[in-house]
Subunit: 271 residues, 2 copies
């Protein structure tokens, strides 16, 4: 199909951004638009510049036989700052305080637009780590894990709390949840993960790091490796209790039920 | 920022498609690009035509005071047919048969690229129904429900199997699951849904429709209404057992464990 430059450019960015981090070959586009490779290269250059200029993500070209072009849905630092500021403001609303000092936040972590922005921040932190899977444990981290997996173009893996007949044979492990002071179970289908995989663990909340430790142990059973951990919110104590590296978008310092104050701050520092 | 037409068009489709079904005002774009409204109108016309021509979704303009432009991530009929054909082919692989006649399909319903396409098909079926929330029950339908919610630009609601301290006060109901022959519980935070909402129920699997009936009852407790039901896969018997309307992407006719045959077909008919 013969198209004008502006039409071609609109179509290319649409196709690329519909499947972030996936390499499209130049041939796919030259066939789609019946254009020369040199024309396509110029289109991609224009796109790269405008996406960069408006902080709408990165266009990367890959040279060589397996080469092509891909779109990375990264959030610019200005936008990241705004997301963090808005989240801190919204989450510190005292109306969110629940009995027991818990903070209601499901409306935020299930909101597609917010989750999309957080998923981009997580993807940006791990996009050059060759992640093979995003792993989460049911339930509340699933939306965020799903969007992060979409940004990285890798499968999502959901670890269950107990084995299900629809999963076939499973690997089960027990782990200690410090925050709940109980022994809990994790279960994952034997089919779910190929050996020697690098996984990114995504969750909504990290307190003592018991779940993260459980996931690290479970991945060892699959001869795989946790290459990164990203959580929506952690606590002030997490840094002391969990020795591994992790990215935490928000850090919850304290919830004061009597004064009705939620004290939290951004967990990602930006210049 | 002054831009060339092709740059402006690329930026507009990127911004629009990053937040499907959300109305952006013309002012937002004329300010962003320092261009006249007439120029922007021409850009939008070009975009509308090229998206339509390449079946990459619809651009809709809304006139009047609350007017503007939005992107609808609809899949064209050719692409929908291809998605259905690929899914039927992949799901009928006999390696998927599990003991008890179950079919392993978590790799498919957790795959972001596939889920993205299915989410677009579901969104297309309900985009003109003024949906306020997408509702699902934990766990396996969550990725699909999340992407459908993203396509419709509405919040996702996840109904839990039992009440959680992080949800605050909840509404709990009991319902009968015909397939599991047990009484089960559903729990949802009182804060989760505003009154008089229209919800779309999305799930991975529907057999007798017990869960869907449970959701209908639960929504009544919130003075809200199930305006649509969309499931990834249903069975041949579902039509007889569940009297309501629903969209089912795939219909599972039979799993023959001894002959190792999975018999299924597309549940959506296209010309």
């Amino acid at each position: 199909m013969k198209l004008q430059r502006s039409e071609r450019i609109a179509a290319i960015i649409k196709v690329l951004s519909d499947r972030p981090n996936h390499v499209f070959t130049f041939n796919e586009f030259t066939e789609m638009f019946a254009c020369a490779k040199s024309t396509l290269s110029e289109d991609v250059d224009i796109l790269r510049n405008i996406m960069h200029k408006l902080q709408l993500g990165n266009i990367e070209t890959i040279s060589g036989a397996a080469g092509g072009v891909k779109y990375l849905p990264l959030l610019g630092s200005e936008q990241t700052k705004k997301v963090l500021k808005d989240l801190c403001s919204s989450l510190s609303d005292s109306e969110r305080i629940l009995p027991g000092g818990y903070v209601y936040m499901t409306d935020i972590i299930y909101n597609p637009y917010i989750v999309q922005q957080v998923g981009k921040i997580f993807a940006a932190a791990f996009i050059h780590k060759q992640i093979d899977y995003v792993v989460t444990v049911e339930t509340k981290g699933i939306p965020l894990a799903m969007i992060t997996a979409r940004c990285l173009d890798v499968p999502l893996i959901i670890v269950r709390r107990n084995s299900k007949v629809t999963e076939g044979s499973t690997v089960n492990i027990n782990y200690v949840s410090a925050s709940k002071r109980t022994i809990q179970t994790m279960s994952l289908s034997r089919r779910a993960i190929k050996k020697n995989a690098n996984v990114l663990f995504v969750d909504d909340f990290m307190k003592g790091g018991g779940t993260a430790t459980g996931i690290i142990d479970l991945m060892k059973e699959f001869e795989s490796n946790v290459s990164g951990i990203a959580v929506f919110i952690s606590t002030k104590k997490t840094k002391k209790q969990f020795s591994g590296d992790y990215v935490s978008l928000i850090v919850l310092n304290d919830v004061n039920e009597s004064n009705r104050i939620i004290d939290l701050e951004a967990g990602i520092k930006l210049n």
